[in-house]
Symmetry: C2
Subunit: 232 residues, 2 copies
DNA sequence: TCAAAAGTGTTTCAAGTACACCCATGT
DNA sequence: ACATGGGTGTACTTGAAACACTTTTGA
């Protein structure tokens, strides 16, 4: 393919990175996994987890790899946030970065592995200034998380398999940063018919105990095919 | 910065392209600008407009440059769609592509320039199979256009400065692919208070003539700051 | 027995939807 | 005079928002 090699040769090549905005939910708080950078430039400063896209590796795969390296988790909900392509965004070199955000169950991830990488879970209002354009990435990720959570049942990715309605509500209160009416929330969610009520109760937060529920993905997809639209 | 050069050296570099999904609105139809590719591989086949990101050029700038080269237009509404990073997506080489969609006023663009590039405006249902993953890019762009148009007044980017309410309505009918009630649409839009009613009338489509309106961006932004949310 | 969270029901209000009629005018 | 698209008003329906009371049980 002679002409092909003509078309692609002589074209400048670029360093391409992936950065991960990793959300977690713990103690009724939305948290973010950030690390203290181990390499220069900006060694020791706060940063998102990231890495370079390798040859023969898709950007999605690179993001999944980086996530696994820091948390030990696989098959995690991830969505691409977008490309950050300003020339001067990385002070060390011209790097084009593809940002991904991920939702993980904090309890399930490998805390020891994360610590080895200098990783910390911080609440949203505790996030220090980050290197490069990582602050903007987080802002964009939060916006996308909110938009996405509004019409898709991605919130469940942040909760344990079994959860109470109070937990679910406080999750959305954290995501949207405003209170939701306890009774209306319950009514709305149960009316959707996508939660499976379990016999077990969670007694850690009240004497009476709150029923545990499980997200019924089967039922959700079935309803979706019939035109149902999730909305919170 | 010795350690910095250590960190970045030896890292694989990639070809990075931008591809443009360019929407236009003409004769009450939503259209897409596609070209017949002039280079191998896939010469002669249908493709989106695109090009490679140069050194010292941001991805946004590259997308704007490609748009200008094919249409002659500058300062156009553009939004990033996302990164397409599969390893085998381009059969000629490993190319990471950043897709952008743009909304342009068809009347204002340089038709001669476009023709030189083998460009054609095609209606959505006329789009032939495209090379690589361009078909998927279009599907994604349409989805994003719909989502975006739902809560942001981006539709006006596709209309001439002065337009009738009927034109505006048929634009949204095209975007959403379903009919909207003529009377309710008018009521809703006028109630928003973001349209400036002009004295002029457009008599091309009726004997009575329809009033022309102009989108009042000032007023829209003012209302937005007060919490107003556009929705159609 | 009482504090604290869980669970249930009702009323109100706003926004969307459906729909019918009059208006202006070129042919 | 009439056909054609432009313009206006009203009744209905649905769903969100606001809100008060009862239940359970460990301390």
């Amino acid at each position: 393919m002679e002409s092909a090699s003509t078309f692609y040769t002589g074209v400048p090549r670029h360093l391409v990175a992936v950065d991960g905005i990793i959300f977690g939910f713990e103690d009724s708080r939305l948290k973010l996994l950030v690390i203290q950078r181990k390499v220069d430039p900006k060694q020791g400063e706060w940063s998102l987890v990231g890495g370079f896209v390798q040859e023969g590796e898709s950007t999605d795969a690179a993001a999944a790899r980086v996530l696994k390296q820091t948390t030990g988790l696989e098959n995690i909900f991830m969505d691409q946030l977008g490309c950050y392509g300003e020339v001067e965004r990385d002070s060390g070199a011209r790097v084009i970065s593809i940002a991904y955000y991920a939702l993980i169950r904090v309890k399930e991830h490998d805390h020891i592995l994360a610590e080895e990488h200098g990783a910390h879970w911080l609440e949203l209002h505790q996030i220090p200034p980050l290197i490069f354009d990582h602050g903007r990435m987080i802002a964009d990720a939060l916006k996308k998380l909110r938009d996405n959570a509004h019409f898709h049942p991605i919130g469940f990715e942040l909760l344990p398999e079994k959860f109470t309605l109070s937990q679910l509500r406080s999750l959305y209160e954290e995501i949207y940063q405003h209170e939701l009416d306890r009774r209306n929330f319950r009514k709305k969610l149960l009316a959707m018919n996508i939660l499976e009520k379990l016999e077990e109760k969670d007694k850690t937060t009240s004497k009476k105990g709150a029923h545990l529920y499980r997200f019924d993905k089967q039922k959700y997809e079935q309803l979706t095919r019939r035109g149902f639209v999730f909305e919170i």
